[in-house]
């Protein structure tokens, strides 16, 4: 019989600090230090960690050990496209000519960077089936806001700015869409989904009019379904003089197969961290470039990246531009990775999407008889199941299923979204998973359904094999402890007044 090994508490970096420890070394100099005027000078040193390098490395290594990434295992978060992040990306992004290049370098000293951006723009325009691209937005949400600002600028330019004040959003839309509509100063109108999973055309025919600026839509939708009446949707909006905006979150399903521009969309944003392999980084960074039809090109953010013969440059002469949504030309390091990734596929991006759709349909086929399927169609790159049958029969919810999947060493799918499906499980395998992984995941989902019937507590009390059990979110919201409270731990480094710190240095 083995004795249980006592669990070591995991410490915050501040709890490992000791006064005087330090990992940094900096070049010394003996130059006089000019004094900062006393009313502007720092009075108390910030309580930054004080550790030497070895323990700092162990600390962050330990944090990485307690984090699950795509590198660790299957990560089927719906609409996030958690595909493999190629390692060649990391090599090229750290080339000194990219990594150590200042964004305000003269253009003749940045031709390689400008050419890369221009080439990426051309690629993205071709993939979208549209005419002009800005790489500036830092993420999909910022791309959405940019797209709505472009809409506003376009209509103002035509004298319809005050008239068109409303944007339509699907009820299955990602929360960013309505949030962006508000931030752009538009009014929101919702359109529902019919029994096939397509937009409700009746509602659109009734309510789209001369006050409408546009529609924001993802296609395929967050249900993983391609809107079969997309041409009619486009006709309705264009017929009223409005524009169509494509949320590119689900582009992984249709690259090289159907282009948003050909579907009738006028503005498209990409998520470089979804479709084009920028690593998600624990929450970011991303990239949200926007492609537009020619009529919207004058309004794109400045500067534009243009080609003049064999030179590349920034063009600031855009009098109708909406302005600037992000500093400099955008998140350049993200462009490098996406560009390298796309050069790896070329026109065979189509195979990437085909594999994504095949993988999703395979997992769907294996699970559809055990879980509830709200829309009985072939899916695209993702699909939505409902655990409502498990809830009804055994009191086991989508949340419980997600927590139990962790014990099987899978990251759970997205849960409780889209909102129109109760007990939703939104599963996007991506194309980079081999069949064996898909089978292992499907086997686990089937096992959990059996456990729900036969060993309910195992599921209700899951996870059992992670560093923590289920956490108390209510307490977190009520007490809102959002930083380390040094004041409650006086024995640790207390942010000495700077005078004392200087004296201590002299004595060392």
């Amino acid at each position: 019989m083995s004795a249980a090994v006592p669990e070591l508490p995991t410490l915050l970096v501040f709890e490992q600090s000791r006064p005087g420890r330090r990992a940094s070394t900096l070049p010394a100099h003996d130059l006089p230090v000019p004094e900062v005027p006393s009313e502007l000078a720092r009075t108390r040193a910030p309580r930054l960690p004080e550790l030497a390098e070895p323990e700092l490395v162990r600390h962050f290594t330990g944090l990485a050990d307690r984090t699950f990434g795509v590198d660790t295992g299957f990560y089927p978060l719906g609409s996030c496209t958690m595909k493999h992040n190629p390692r060649m990306n990391e090599r090229v992004v750290s080339l000194p000519g990219f990594r150590d290049l200042h964004p305000l370098q003269e253009e003749d000293g940045a031709q390689g960077a400008l050419e890369l951006m221009w080439r990426l723009q051309e690629i993205l325009a071709e993939v979208a089936g549209l005419d002009a691209v800005t790489l500036q937005p830092a993420a999909g949400s910022q791309g959405e806001l940019t797209g709505l600002m472009l809409m506003r600028a376009y209509f103002s330019d035509r004298g319809e700015g005050d008239l068109r004040d409303t944007v339509f959003v699907a009820d299955t839309a990602h929360g960013t869409n309505p949030a962006s509509v508000t931030m752009a100063g538009y009014k929101l109108e919702k359109v529902g989904t019919d029994a096939r999973g397509n937009l409700d055309l009746e509602v659109l025919r009734e309510r789209v009019n001369e006050r409408t600026a546009g529609l924001m839509l993802t296609n395929p939708s967050t249900l993983g379904l391609f809107d079969e009446s997309i041409e009619e949707v486009a006709r309705i909006f264009h017929g009223a003089g409005a524009l169509l905006y494509y949320d590119g979150a689900n582009l992984n399903a249709v690259c090289g197969i159907s282009r948003p521009g050909d579907m009738g969309f006028d503005i498209v944003h990409y998520n470089l961290h979804k479709t084009f392999s920028q690593p998600h980084g624990g929450g970011g960074p991303g990239g949200g470039p926007v492609a537009v039809r020619e009529i919207l090109e004058p309004f794109l953010p400045v500067p534009a990246v243009v080609r003049d013969g064999d030179r590349f440059r920034f063009d600031y002469d855009r009098p109708k531009s909406i302005g600037k949504v992000r500093g400099f030309a955008g998140p350049f390091g993200v462009f490098v990775r996406s560009y390298a990734y796309i050069r790896s596929y070329g026109p065979r991006l189509r195979e990437m999407s085909e594999a994504a759709v095949l993988n999703a349909n395979y997992v769907l086929a294996r699970l559809r008889d055990t879980y509830d399927l709200p829309f009985d169609r072939l899916c695209m790159h993702e699909f939505v199941l409902s655990a409502r049958n498990l809830k009804r029969d055994h009191g086991v919810t989508a949340l419980d299923v997600a927590k139990r999947l962790m014990d099987y060493r899978f990251h759970p799918p997205t849960i409780y979204f889209p909102l129109i499906v109760p007990e939703a499980l939104m599963i996007e395998p991506t194309e980079t998973e081999p069949k064996e992984r898909l089978d292992a995941f499907a086997d686990a989902m089937l096992a959990i359904a059996r456990e729900a019937a036969e060993e309910r507590d195992l599921v209700k009390d899951a996870p059992h094999r992670r560093p923590v059990k289920r956490v108390d979110e209510v307490q977190a919201a009520k007490r809102a402890i959002v930083r380390y409270r040094f004041e409650e731990h006086p024995q640790l480094s207390a942010g000495a007044p700077t005078g004392a710190a200087v004296e201590a240095q002299k004595g060392a």
């Binding site: 979110e473 209510v474 977190a476 919201a477």
Partner: protein, 131 residues
């Protein structure tokens, strides 16, 4: 711990899942069992100030759980004479006792005729059945 489902007879109800206890020209307002159940454990109340006014059908504050935020819709118009201060530190009281200790605000009615437009308990229960 949340209360058992109940809808007292002596209260008036509103379709947005609020209740009102009328007492002469004042009323005490709160949210029903159905509302607190839908939210889950309440972690924060964004309350209005004493002396401010509320209009029937309009929002006068918010209640928040970890997964949702709900506007508090006033069933009646009036001037706020008291806010339940105990809820600032213990908002979960609304779940435990939505009709007594979990009351939200007391108002002096500015249009008592509005009371006639509220639902009695049977009408409210019927509305819930149709949800």
């Amino acid at each position: 711990m949340a209360a058992d489902e109940s809808y007292p007879d002596d209260l008036k109800y509103h379709a947005e899942h609020d209740w009102a206890r009328i007492d002469g020209d004042t009323a005490t307002l709160g949210i029903t069992w159905y509302a607190q159940d839908a939210l889950g454990e309440i972690v924060h109340l964004e309350a209005p100030e004493d002396g401010s006014s509320v209009a029937a059908g309009e929002s006068y504050g918010e209640v928040e759980s970890v997964k949702a935020v709900s506007d508090l819709i006033a069933p009646l118009s009036g001037e706020i004479i008291e806010v339940n201060a105990a809820l600032a530190d213990a908002p979960e009281t609304i779940n435990e006792d939505p009709y007594d200790a979990g009351w939200l605000i007391k108002i002096r009615l500015t249009d008592p005729a509005e009371v006639a437009g509220l639902l009695d308990v049977d009408a409210y229960r019927k509305l819930l059945d149709e949800q």
